[in-house]
């Protein structure tokens, strides 16, 4: 798939309907194939799984794997942990980066550029490099095996992208709207929460989704800081299905399917906003 295919602008080389179908096919296949394959695997029995040649569509679909997925590991518990961690990290990073972004975008700041750069520089620090000292800090604070152990680092790791997006959205909002609100009776912060932030909703939304997905995605810190069953997040929990001696693929597939459902639902509901938020210029920095 190379650049030779099309210029992409308003049709380009792909003027034919058939070619357009082909394009749609490629994109859809790329996006959905792994998910569909896992879905199919989740309905296969252990015997069908090891059949040769492998089957593409389950011959005798079974729900046993889903039952096993719930039986072998506390899957709902993992889902809950992931949700709590990702939502808290998202809310916290939105709040903190909204304040910072407002200061950078609006207030009379001397070293505006340097401040923004230093926030963005956070993303230059690889997570693994921070892992060890962070582990020490969490240990010192007694936060290992707790939600905070993940919420705090995820919040900070999301600050660069959230701040970047919010700054560019805040800058697009006419200053006089804020002035009007202050004359109408708001404090400066009141105007920020009542007028600026709601108007930057697409940006807030984009930043929020990115923050959520980043936190939902994270594996390394979750694996290292919260190994206890009570605080395992999904990516770590899914790894727990494998045993000393076995790797139960159908059960893992079923667990993956269940784990992906909330995300797919979120995407289905918000896809419009995600894409429009990303395309309205926020991400381009």
């Amino acid at each position: 798939m190379s650049a030779t295919i099309s210029d992409g602008s308003g049709g380009g080389i792909f003027t034919g309907k058939r070619l357009r179908w082909l394009a749609a096919g490629i994109v859809l296949l790329n996006g959905f194939f792994p998910a569909l394959w896992i879905l199919a695997t989740a309905f296969k029995s252990e015997i069908e799984l090891t059949a040769k040649p492998i089957t593409w569509i389950p011959h005798s679909p079974t729900l046993n794997n889903f039952i096993a997925a719930f039986r072998d590991q506390p899957l709902p518990h993992y889902l809950l942990n992931s949700a709590v961690v990702a939502l808290s990290a998202m809310a916290l990073s939105l709040f903190i980066s909204a304040l910072a972004a407002y200061a950078i975008a609006r207030l009379n700041l001397k070293y505006r550029g340097a401040i923004l750069t230093s926030i963005i520089a956070v993303s230059m620090f690889p997570l693994v490099t921070l892992m060890v000292p962070l582990f020490e800090i969490m240990r010192g604070l007694g936060l290992l095996n707790s939600y905070w152990a993940l919420v705090l680092p995820y919040t900070v790791l999301n600050l660069p992208i959230c701040t970047l997006i919010l700054v560019s959205f805040f800058q697009d909002i006419p200053r006089d709207l804020e002035n009007a609100a202050m004359i109408d009776g708001c404090t400066r912060l009141g105007a920020l929460w009542r007028i600026v932030v709601p108007l930057a909703a697409p940006g807030v939304f984009t930043a929020g989704i990115l923050a959520f997905v980043n936190a939902w995605d994270e594996f390394l810190l979750a694996l290292s800081f919260n190994p206890a069953a009570a605080y395992r997040t999904l990516p770590v929990g899914i790894q727990m299905y494998q045993g000393e001696f076995s790797f139960p693929w159908p059960t893992i597939s079923a667990a993956l399917v269940i784990a992906m459902i909330p995300v797919v639902v979120v995407i289905l509901i918000f896809q419009e906003r995600v894409v429009s938020g990303l395309t309205s210029g926020g991400v381009k920095g």
Partner: protein, 371 residues
């Protein structure tokens, strides 16, 4: 009682140097309660800054501003009890018209009944009752303008501030809204400060005009005073459309006569009333100012007794329907004259024009001050 009072108000921006950049140079101004005052001046003259300082949107570097006797220097905008209409209206895009109007009242914890009453009253005054449910983006420019004003009205504030509110409207709507604003002020009688760069708005709306330039007040006065007795060439050139004509010359003053000597040997006799003011001014370099409506093509009626004739060449004639503007080249410069529509000049044609010496203005060429 004083509506808004400015005393030695200054504004200095920090530009890294010790002194900073001075934007407003010690403004003194008293605006009485209920008065409609217009700040006018070219862009960059500091009029908007001054307005925002009154609103509390800009800090005050020196001096005091008080509203109805209360010093507001350190008060936040919301505590000053003022309302402001912005150039781009600044309507909250995510709230409908009703909520836009109600926002300020809600923040002040008014009862729901009171809010409804005030919003409906304001809407009735502005004839926007049918728009209350709409979002700003579904409104036309003129409607947005009305909503912006409505938002100011419902608050019944101590002072209305307008920041070039009509500049985003097309010419027709602009004159319509101008009339509306004037009517509104007559109806409410609230202290109003209105910033514009448009001298027509200033002339039509103001009870008093404040002409600003470079952060200084050039002149404060009624529209009539500003128009007819400008204190400087700057003020004179700022009002009127087309503006006042200026020709360079010098003064010839004898014991009982005074003459303006223009280039190319043109001499215009000044009225005797000038003499007391021109003692000892012989030979002074001046600018001779005359408004377009004070130039005629004949010595006939409508002009004062003392007219002076000048010969010139027609450069261009612009018929406007009710009148025709004719540009003449004469006395080393160009003058525009407001002529009746019946004149029929061709470019290049030689003509004699008559200047109403009762209405002429003389300014010191060095500092622009009126003589």
């Amino acid at each position: 009682m004083s509506g808004v009072s400015l005393q030695k108000v200054t504004k200095v921006y920090d530009n890294g140097t010790k002194e900073g950049v001075k934007i407003i140079h010690g403004i003194d101004l008293e605006i009485t309660q209920g008065e409609f005052v217009v700040f006018v001046g070219p862009s960059g003259c500091g009029k908007s800054t001054l307005l925002r300082m009154i609103a509390g949107l800009e800090s005050i570097s020196g001096g005091t501003i008080s509203i109805e006797g209360r010093v507001v220097n350190d008060l936040a905008p919301r505590e000053r009890d003022i309302a402001m209409v912005f150039q781009d209206y600044a309507l909250y895009p995510h709230k409908n018209v009703f909520e836009n109007l109600a926002f300020g009242l809600r923040l002040r914890k008014f009862s729901e009944d009171e809010i409804k009453k005030r919003v409906n009253d304001a809407a009735a005054i502005l004839k926007i009752e049918h728009l209350l449910e709409r979002k700003p983006r579904a409104l036309s420019g003129g409607q947005r303008q009305r909503v912006a004003m409505g938002r100011a009205i419902v608050r019944q504030p101590k002072a209305f501030l307008f920041d070039e509110p009509l500049s985003n409207l097309d010419a027709l709507l602009r004159s319509e809204m101008r009339t509306e604003i004037k009517k509104l002020h007559q109806r409410l009688g609230a202290t109003t400060i209105y910033v514009t760069h448009d001298q027509v708005e200033a002339m039509t709306l103001a009870q008093r005009i404040v002409v600003l330039s470079g952060g200084n007040i050039m002149q404060v006065g009624t529209p009539d005073a500003i128009y007819n007795q400008p204190v400087s060439k700057f003020v004179a050139g700022f009002t009127g459309s087309p503006p006042m004509n200026f020709l360079q010359g010098s003064l010839g003053v004898c014991a009982d006569t005074a003459t303006v000597l223009l280039t190319d040997g043109v001499q215009l006799p000044l009225a005797a009333s000038w003499l007391p003011r021109l003692a000892g001014a012989h030979g002074q370099e001046i600018e001779f100012g005359i408004r377009p409506e004070d130039i005629g093509i004949e010595a006939g009626a409508g002009f004062g007794a003392e007219r002076a004739a000048m010969s010139g060449t027609v450069v261009v004639a612009e018929p406007l329907g009710a009148e025709t503007l004719v540009t003449f080249a004469c006395a080393g410069g160009e003058v525009i004259a407001r002529m009746p529509p019946s004149v029929n000049y061709r470019p290049g044609e030689a003509a004699t024009i008559y200047v109403d010496m009762q209405k002429c203005h003389l300014f010191d060429r060095a500092n622009g001050v009126a003589l």
